[in-house]
């Protein structure tokens, strides 16, 4: 079965958007995926990762059984964990050398939160147990936890499909009702994981279930014309509301529709129902309108997205580091429009170059090694 390039393409797009969104203040951040509805690149990334995981590990489950599938999944979890720890060390090196804010008395009352630098031993243990998540280090821990749940879920999907889905929805609903269902973080135990895994599991599991149903040749109901019409209506509605907010930002007298209502009910941490429904509707519309053989996927301009989407774990980690460095460059040199654009273009170029290298390098080895490398590099997505 050849790869579905749409998955790589849109995951690459989400990766570029996450990179840009993580550079606070970069003007291009206004025009990333978030402009298209009440969700952003994180939802797209997690959905596609779930779908790919369902596809890849579902195929392994059917061909080689639950044990092998579980071992393969946990091998992937291990890779993600190592990547997260590596990222954390890089981050500590960056922040440890940039804590002027902590010693300047104008901020000293407020920036004592950098106290964790005083107890590196505890901080490292908290990072290893995923409790300590500095800014932008919160997506990989979420993905690790979600992937750890995957084997159980896939096995459940074989016979107890509706029970598993109902359980997942019930957990998500419980979080909507009681926001105390969360994982506390370090250094302040009163704060919580930025992405609540008990809420985000639903989006990931819906993705995985759809991916697995493709393996089994099920999912014909997705082609229903009524479903498409409903999804299109939701997608258009979300887009119109969101574009109205953007216009309001540019010119204040333009009223922002429903802003007061949505302001309190668009939780990203707990995956608000509006975000969930909107992103699923858009996924359905895009998947219906863009066929697998869509010509633009083969176009040269799509290649950077596809190649980055294909090596998404490495490119994601690289993107986090690049956005931290890019942010540093922009604040250090007071970069405006031009510098911001240059930083973003350079970052995307570096991500593409690294992904291209990863594509090319295994090809230099023997065919058998290549197959092994491919399956471990691209295994479960992320």
């Amino acid at each position: 079965m050849d790869r579905d390039l749409r998955l790589d393409f849109f995951r690459g797009l989400a990766l570029f958007c996450i990179f840009i969104d993580h550079i606070p203040g970069a003007w291009l951040g206004t025009f990333t995926i978030q402009i298209t509805g009440l969700y952003d690149a994180a939802e797209v990334f997690i959905f596609i990762s779930g779908y790919t995981a369902g596809l890849v590990y579902g195929r392994i489950l059917d061909a080689e059984g639950p044990l092998i599938m579980t071992l393969r999944t946990y091998h992937r979890v291990w890779q993600l964990y190592v990547a997260h720890v590596f990222l954390f060390v890089m981050f500590m090196a960056l922040v440890g050398n940039m804590t002027d804010a902590a010693v300047n008395p104008i901020y000293i009352e407020e920036f004592r939160a950098t106290d964790f630098l005083q107890e590196p031993g505890t901080a490292i243990v908290m990072a290893l147990t995923l409790r300590f998540q500095p800014a932008f280090m919160d997506i990989l821990p979420l993905y690790i936890v979600l992937l750890m749940m995957l084997p159980l879920f896939l096995i459940g999907l074989r016979g107890l499909k509706w029970l598993v889905l109902a359980g997942s929805i019930a957990l998500w609903l419980a979080v909507q009702v009681n926001k105390g269902i969360a994982i506390p973080t370090y250094p302040d135990a009163a704060t919580k994981w930025f992405f609540n895994p008990f809420a985000w599991q639903l989006l990931f599991l819906i993705g995985a279930a759809l991916g697995y149903s493709r393996v089994r040749g099920a999912g014909g109901w997705l082609a229903s014309r009524w479903l498409f019409a409903a999804a299109a209506a939701i997608a258009i509605g979300g887009f119109l509301i969101r574009i109205n907010w953007t216009l309001h930002l540019f010119y204040d007298p333009i009223p922002s529709l429903f802003a007061k209502y949505f302001w309190l009910s668009l939780s990203k941490t707990n995956m608000s129902p509006f975000r969930l429904v909107n992103v699923l509707a858009v996924v359905l519309v895009v998947a219906t309108l863009v066929p697998r053989q869509a010509r633009f996927l083969a176009h040269r301009a799509s290649w950077p997205l596809i190649v980055c989407g294909r090596h998404s774990l490495h490119i994601f980690c690289l993107g986090i580091l690049l956005s931290a460095i890019g942010h540093w460059i922009i604040t250090e040199f007071y970069g405006g429009f031009v510098l911001q654009t240059m930083v973003v273009v350079a970052g995307i170029a570096i991500m593409t170059a690294v992904a291209a290298f990863m594509d090319w390098f295994p090809g230099r080895r023997s065919e058998r090694q290549r197959a092994v490398a491919q399956s471990s590099v691209t295994g479960g997505g992320a």
Partner: protein, 257 residues
């Protein structure tokens, strides 16, 4: 949601221009350092007609500032150098007949929720004409759950709007490194959203300080105890003046041509 993001876009485009044209940059830097702000940048912020009328009539006016460490102003060394005290002296100069009292209720390390808990005793008990709520830093740095921060802001705004004649918000201080430690910008955007959806004025301190830093009116990276105290004194003076200008904005004569 990125309320307030594009609000700064224009400023950033200007900053871009400065970056491209070093000559312009130098010319700006060479000018005498003044922290005065062009008032047209606040065109879309709600004004404070009731308090302004009381000032014009020479009545007693009480302003309560509830906030954190940067309101308490310890960095400047003395309470009369904190920005609320500077605000009081500017208003006293401009409205000599009015009896202006600015009460400083800044407590370091307070979250938005801590402040809301103090509203009853520290704010409402004084029957203020205007309440200035300075908040956000501690929440952004410790990483208060965004939903909780949003709800705390909403609770506080609802309470103040119901019980005092006029109110405004003030966002965080600017620090070049703040975004490395936390999702600082998300909290800034959220405060802009709070002001926006509730139709409450917001004094964009972060954006203003960023502008001062970019145009080299201030150098926030100084080292040494004495230099930093001097910096704090000057900064709070500028903030106090800026807030005085902000709260006394008038509808331009012949507006809405």
């Amino acid at each position: 949601m990125r309320y307030g993001f594009a609000a700064g876009l224009c400023a950033r485009v200007v900053a871009a221009g400065l970056w491209v044209l070093p000559a312009v940059w130098d010319a700006v830097a060479a000018e005498p350092a003044s922290c005065a702000m062009p008032q047209d940048r606040f065109d879309f912020e709600p004004k404070f007609p009731k308090m302004l009328a009381a000032l014009d009539k020479g009545e007693a006016v009480t302003i309560v500032v509830i906030g954190g460490g940067s309101t308490a102003g310890r960095a400047a060394g003395a309470a009369d150098r904190a920005w609320p005290a500077r605000l009081a002296s500017v208003l006293a100069q401009r409205f000599p007949k009015a009896r202006v009292a600015v009460l400083n209720k800044g407590v370091a390390r307070n979250t938005a929720r801590d402040m809301v808990a103090r509203f009853e005793t520290d704010v409402l008990a004084h029957k203020p004409n205007l309440v200035i709520w300075e908040t956000g830093i501690v929440d952004a740095v410790r990483g208060t759950d965004l939903d909780e921060f949003r709800e705390d802001l909403q609770t506080g705004i609802d309470q103040l709007k119901a019980q005092v004649p006029e109110m405004m918000l003030m966002d965080m201080q600017f620090s070049r490194r703040s975004n490395l430690i936390s999702h600082f910008s998300l909290y800034l955007v959220l405060m802009r959203g709070a002001a926006d959806v509730n139709d409450v004025a917001l004094f964009p301190r972060h954006e203003i300080m960023r502008g001062w830093s970019e145009s080299r009116i201030f150098d926030f990276d100084v080292k040494g105890q004495d230099e930093m105290r001097v910096l704090a004194v000057r900064l709070y003076d500028c903030i106090g003046k800026g807030v005085a200008d902000f709260v006394t904005r008038r509808d331009p004569v012949g507006a809405l041509r």
